[in-house]
Symmetry: C2
Subunit: 888 residues, 2 copies
């Protein structure tokens, strides 16, 4: 095995070495190389951290010798020496992984201070207060990162307590009120505390200090909070952290010193203008501690025009170099500017879009780069109302970010009341709060500004509706306890009653006390431009899942090229239709059933006329009824309770008893795998005959007003080709007759969902009777894993936390399992029909990784909820760009 | 296209031509060729029937000319002529498909009779009564088969009514009391009725008669009852029926005439002795009508020794020729014996086994032939009590034959009472009658002689328990209505109350009024011999699904080579354990839970010691807990009702309310796909740790008494390799420690079920962490189809009836879909571990077609309920023989 180079001086590295040097180390090397004023230093590689871990937490042999060699180079560059009694060098020791993990790992500043060096520094600076302040900080910091894991009392907290006691004794209010002598006393107290707790003196040997700090950083890669963060951000544990040792520069050595942080553009809105804050005579910590209020960076232009110009020139240089917004830390030491760190600046969705588009116009990047710069989450932020930038608010609970967007209104505890007070009712702003939601709540949800639930995951009913209708929603917020009867919810001691104002930040899953200002999204301008570029680049088509004419209009506004899934049964839930649906189910004869179906036909046909009109020539995939019929009836458990209570009270409610008997007779142990989809159509063909009639008569009527209607009738839940064959033959004959009778020409198709594993396995046979396939990846995921989406929270959460699964397969397609079935279905289907149109209409159709996968395996289109359409357009473009990149 | 030969004279055909000539035609040809006295005739091929059907029910051009040519040959052989006024020939026209469909299609006898021929026959025979009797029968029969489909009044019933009125007028009690003149009058009345209803005279043209009859037989292939029968027996609709036209011989022309039916051996018990009945001066119909009681065939030895000897010689000749028991129809016409039909004789299970084994000893067939002769159903009959052969009984309802065997006892309507009165209680014979059964009923089921349910299919809980424990069971008997509260069930007007005696014939799904005599099976003798032969031939090993020491003992008795599935949770249902299990579930802390688990450990360890001891060195695959925990708690709906009633009555039942809250919190929408199997083990590892300890400590204890214990611990419901890896690592470490501590050597394995589609798709990854696979085809079928076994009755029945599915995939493996996943899993698994042991433990492991498939795809063993073990041994042997046959 050849020995790897463990240490890289800044001048030896570059920005591409993130794997070895971490983001911070690589950028410092890069900045050094492009001539920026970076304090000298070097970086120990991430592999060395892994070596350390693999050795069970022991320093690799020879490492410290290599450190000393590198250090000598730095000492030469800075004309100072670590531990030198006349020209002492102080260094920082920082972590830096490949991917940013802010605040997760350890940092030591001012390393190299000891009693001798302190004296030397006082002589050098004539500023004893600064020296003792630095020393006491160093003592605390090194103890905290290196010794506190073993000795609890060596953690930061105890040191702060000692300082607090001293301040009390001295009558000082703030740290700033303590004199140099006071801080000198504090250094003594700290050293005594360390000696007592550690059982030995604080190391005066600066090389020992350095080794301790390096080891502490290595160890911090595997501390609990870093591991949790990596799990959350899906960063591999095997990467390790680099350690950067860099010359300290001080912003707190006097009034010609200072420190600051700035972005090269405004990260909130994207304006091209340096944006940030600074403080003179301060260290970075002071800014964070909030003891002093930092000044806006623009003030520096007045206070120190030369430095300001130098800094803004550097900003321009960095942007031109990195072709992206930079987040820069700087320090001014005796009027000399040092750049300590630069990294790609985090930005809001709106800023991301504006910056990417602006940079194209500035000639800094090309359109394709602009497209790849925007994440799905950033784009999503642009599609929903957001809390007005800069607003401070009080988060009282956090749940799952089930539906993005911000909402504000009064809490309401049942759907009926929400419908009465909210949109379409009295027009108040309401937030519907439920333990969980069911299809019964739909009307109330649609009338609300936002929805909050105590239970349910990212794919619960509430979450599905939220994303489908763009309702800001926080789901599965288990810290709240909803009490329907008292009409309130509690979080610990806090109680929110009906009528109390609350707000939600759906993008972050935040529940907020009181009202916040909310601003609406802007879909034109830079956003529109970016979308146009994406459309030019993508190969995948994008359709929307839309069940009502209003949804369809919204989808078209968001750029959908058609409807990929219209769930016809959603048309049954409206309050004017549901009683008819129930009567249809309760019917005892086919004739009675037909009477009700004829009534529904009128509604459904009208819906389709409006949908085809809104689509204006775009195709619409219309799925025939899918859910089990008992979903339209009252809840079994409620009925049992109501009937039991009535009986115990000596009353008889005949209607309810009949309903109970019916609901009992239709009850299923596993409704997901019961009498639904095409099974229902085979057992009760009348319903789908009505639906087929409604679709075709709707198309015929729309076409009479000059609209090209392109219905694609989709038969769900097919597992065996004979199911499809049976229904298709029946409906095809029926359809031919309707169209023939009308004298119109309607180009309609019949196809099927691939959502049962067996359908994928036998897709060649199924393709013979199908003009298109649409992957129903929600159900396909359920069946392939044997996971009930309604029940899987209890084990999916621990699964993801313990990395048994890489992620929730209901969010992003499981490519190894579900994907294997999809690829099989595509290959088999197209082996029979090379031109078979294949799309996806599961929730995955709006998720970026899944869209990339759909592109890769050759789907024709993805379909997702209207609010996800722009995201899908962008993701489809990104997928095609990534594929071209790979093919190069 | 070359023209196919449509008509085959008997002398032209042979027994191998079943496809073309049907079973009957082929056998008549064969019998003719081996020199038996067969009345001359010919057969029209099955293809001709298809031709007729394809022409939309029109006679193919030229067919009647070909018929006439063949007829001329027959006429020549018999020296008679159809329609001839002096030597008239009469013929029968019969259906005959490739597979026997007794009574399903039409037959016309005495064809060729008309007014002229009748006169001629009277002259020939001097027996006008016989002639008019034959004529009136022919009139009725031809009308019934040819005209009644159009004219309802030309069906048999109306003719019988006319005869009834004539008998009344003549004062005759029976048909036999009506004189020749009376029958002549009847012929006139029949002709008048036909002329009136048909609008024309009954055809006197004998060729027209012949064509009408041939067409009627063709048409009868597609009559409703034939279609239903074929669906049930899985006979393809495309086969068609042959039509055999054969010279009539008469057993009713005088006292030197007669007719009979006989088997070459006793079909009920298998004794080598001609067995049958005959009647002198009678036609076959008379035997069926039951007007006269037929005589045992042995009486013929006295009545007509020559004919008897000729007949028994023919029997021997036929058995030697066909090497199987024959079912023979014969007629004696004026002391001349004619053989009209012979076919393989249907026989009881016991007879089938005895006959096959006897024939080997007689040198008639070899052992392999004997093995292939026995069907799974026949063998099954041998394993269960049967109704004493020859017993007459009153079937009042029919359900599904869910558990074979006969049972008799008093009806009892709840499990508690069954347990109290039945086996292990007061020792009465009880039949448990339930709307459906749940795990709660297990104890009561085990105490009962038999179980009858109103609902549930072949794979319902009741059916699974039935087969698992060998309890005669009739399930899904939807004609009965069970009323728990009144403690009775009704069938139409009939009511069976608690305590009333009823009986079940599980093999046929029969519910019987009153008590019947039941005899026990005999597993030695010929049965034992056949099993030994099977074991010599088969490659597949056979294990049993057994959950208790008693089951294991039974399985070993039935020849199991090990346990393929021990469902450890079944050990939790016993009444002394269930409260502990419930307390374990209700526990609020891990420590509380452990206290209960420690109690269960004692029980479970003792069970394993006994199981390993009973297995005496055979391996045992032990599945860790699989069902969701809520299965061990009371039913949610019952609790809701009870708590609601208590509350309405102003009472508080705190325990019940706590239980309700717990059950509600654990409630799952789709429990089949919820928190169960390995998911449960990951969320609550304590339970499987206890189970692993019980298995290993049980094995250690058993091994201390000299028994070789071979535990194979099986982790259920794995869908992702990481699930298996996680649990296995945990349990492996645990197991190593237990075994190490004991100082014993235990050869234990860890493996997994393949029952989730994703597991099959990723079996290569899973095989890396598994020492064996066992296909759980029940769940694999559920997930692959998306069919809930508990709910699928409602659509699976219509699916099978309408041939959307070829059969119930829970009964026989769906080879196209589920099988595809199995083959994939085998290939992937063995690509990583060539020696991977693979078995099956789903219900399919005991079903003959599925066993043949398991043999074909290379499984190592099948596992099934103890009562299916002999069937599996036989089926495995048959599969291997069939495979060798194909390879030849």
């Amino acid at each position: 095995m050849t020995k790897l180079k463990r240490i890289w001086l800044f001048r030896e590295g570059n920005a591409k070495m993130r794997d070895e040097l971490g983001g911070k180390g690589a950028n410092l090397a890069e900045m050094n190389n492009i001539g920026l004023p970076v304090p000298a230093g070097f970086t120990i590689t991430t592999m060395t951290c892994n070596e350390y871990t693999d050795l069970g937490g022991k320093m690799p042999v020879g490492l410290m010798d290599e450190v000393k060699v590198a250090l000598a180079d730095v000492e030469k560059a800075m004309s100072k020496k670590l531990g030198d009694p006349t020209q002492p060098l102080l260094v920082s020791v920082r972590s830096g992984a490949k991917f940013s993990m802010p605040g997760m790992m350890d940092t030591v500043l001012n390393l190299g201070l000891n009693d001798v060096v302190a004296e030397a520094l006082i002589k050098m600076t004539g500023n004893p207060r600064f020296v003792y302040d630095s020393y006491r900080r160093f003592l605390m910091m090194l103890s905290d990162v290196a010794f506190a894991t073993e000795k609890n009392k060596l953690a930061k907290h105890d040191f702060e307590h000692i300082f607090y006691e001293l301040k009390t004794k001295l009558g000082a209010k703030n740290d700033m009120d303590v004199s140099a002598d006071g801080l000198k006393e504090l250094v003594g107290l700290y050293k005594a505390h360390i000696a007592k707790e550690l059982g030995r003196e604080f190391p005066q040997d600066v090389y020992e200090q350095l080794q301790i700090a390096i080891e502490a950083v290595f160890k911090s890669w595997n501390n609990e909070r870093a591991k949790v963060y990596r799990r959350k951000e899906k960063i591999a544990d095997s990467l390790g952290t680099a350690v950067t040792v860099q010359t300290m520069v001080f912003g707190n050595m006097g009034d010609d010193c200072g420190t600051g942080v700035a972005f090269t553009r405004d990260p909130a809105v994207g304006t091209k203008q340096v944006f940030g804050e600074y403080l003179m005579n301060a260290q970075g910590e002071d800014v964070v501690a909030g003891v002093r209020t930092p000044m806006p960076i623009s003030d520096l232009a007045t206070e120190n025009p030369a430095i300001y110009k130098e800094f803004t020139d550097i900003c321009t240089k960095l942007e031109n170099h990195y072709k992206d917004v930079q987040d820069i830390e700087f320090t001014i030491e005796h009027n000399k500017l040092f750049i300590l760190q630069c990294r790609s600046g985090k930005r809001s969705g709106a800023a991301a879009v504006k910056i990417a588009v602006d940079m194209v116009h500035e000639g800094l990047i090309d359109k394709n780069t602009a497209i790849t710069r925007i994440t799905a989450e950033q784009l999503d932020q642009c599609l929903h109302p957001v809390i007005k930038p800069g607003t401070k608010y009080d988060v009282i609970a956090k749940g799952l970010p089930a539906g993005p967007g911000a909402a504000t209104g009064i809490a309401v505890f049942d759907a009926t009341k929400a419908a009465e007070l909210g949109k379409g009712g009295k027009g108040q702003h309401v937030i519907l709060v439920r333990a969980d939601t069911s299809p019964d709540d739909l009307k109330g949800m649609l009338a609300s500004e936002g929805v909050l639930t105590e239970r349910g995951g990212m794919t619960s009913h509430a979450a599905l509706v939220a994303r489908g209708f763009g309702i800001p929603t926080v789901a599965g917020c288990s810290t709240i306890k909803v009490d329907d009867k008292k009409r309130q919810f509690t979080i610990g001691d806090k109680t929110i009653r009906e009528g109390d104002p609350i707000s939600l930040n759906g993008a972050l899953g935040e529940v907020i006390d009181g009202t916040v200002a909310v601003v609406d999204p802007e879909l034109t301008g830079e956003f529109g431009e970016l979308m146009t570029w994406s459309d030019e680049v993508r190969r995948l088509h994008v359709r929307a899942n839309a069940d009502t004419p209003a949804d369809v209009a919204l989808a078209v506004k968001f750029g959908a090229e058609g409807v990929g899934l219209c769930r016809t049964e959603h048309m049954f839930f409206a309050s004017d239709r549901r009683p008819i649906v129930q009567a249809m189910i309760m019917a005892e004869t086919d004739d009675e059933r037909q009477v009700e179906l004829d009534k529904l036909l009128v509604f459904q046909r009208k819906d389709f006329v409006e949908m085809f009109t809104a689509l204006a020539g775009r195709p619409a995939t219309i799925r025939l009824i899918d859910p089990p019929l008992h979903e339209f009836l009252p809840n079994l458990e409620d009925l049992i309770e109501e009937v039991a209570i009535a009986k115990a009270n000596g009353k008889v409610d005949a209607d309810k008893e009949i309903m109970l008997a019916k609901v009992r007779s239709m009850h299923e142990v596993n409704p997901m795998m019961g009498l639904r989809g095409c099974r229902l159509s085979i057992v009760f063909p009348q319903i789908v005959e009505m639906q087929t009639r409604a679709v075709l008569e709707g198309a015929i009527e729309a076409s009479k007003s000059g609209v090209t209607a392109l219905p694609e009738i989709m038969i769900p839940l097919v597992g065996h080709v004979n199911e499809l064959k049976w229904i298709r033959e029946k409906l095809d004959a029926f359809a031919t007759e309707i169209v023939k009778k009308s004298g119109s020409k309607i180009d309609y198709k019949f196809g099927t969902m691939i959502e049962i594993p067996r359908a994928a396995l036998t897709a060649d046979k199924i393709a013979e009777h199908s003009e298109f396939f649409s992957f129903g990846t929600n159900d396909l995921t359920q069946m392939t894993f044997g996971f009930s989406r309604d029940d899987s929270d209890r084990f999916l959460k621990p699964y993801v936390e313990q990395k048994i699964l890489p992620g929730d397969p209901f969010e992003s397609i499981d490519q190894d399992g579900v994907g294997q079935l999809m690829e099989m279905a595509i290959a088999k289907g197209r082996s029979v029909k090379p031109e078979l149109k294949i799309g996806i209409c599961g929730e995955h159709g709006g998720e970026a990784n899944s869209i990339a996968y759909c592109h890769k395996i050759g789907l024709d289109y993805v379909s997702c909820s209207p609010y996800r359409v722009p995201i899908a357009r962008l993701a489809a473009a990104q997928a095609n760009l990534a594929a071209s990149e790979r093919d190069k």
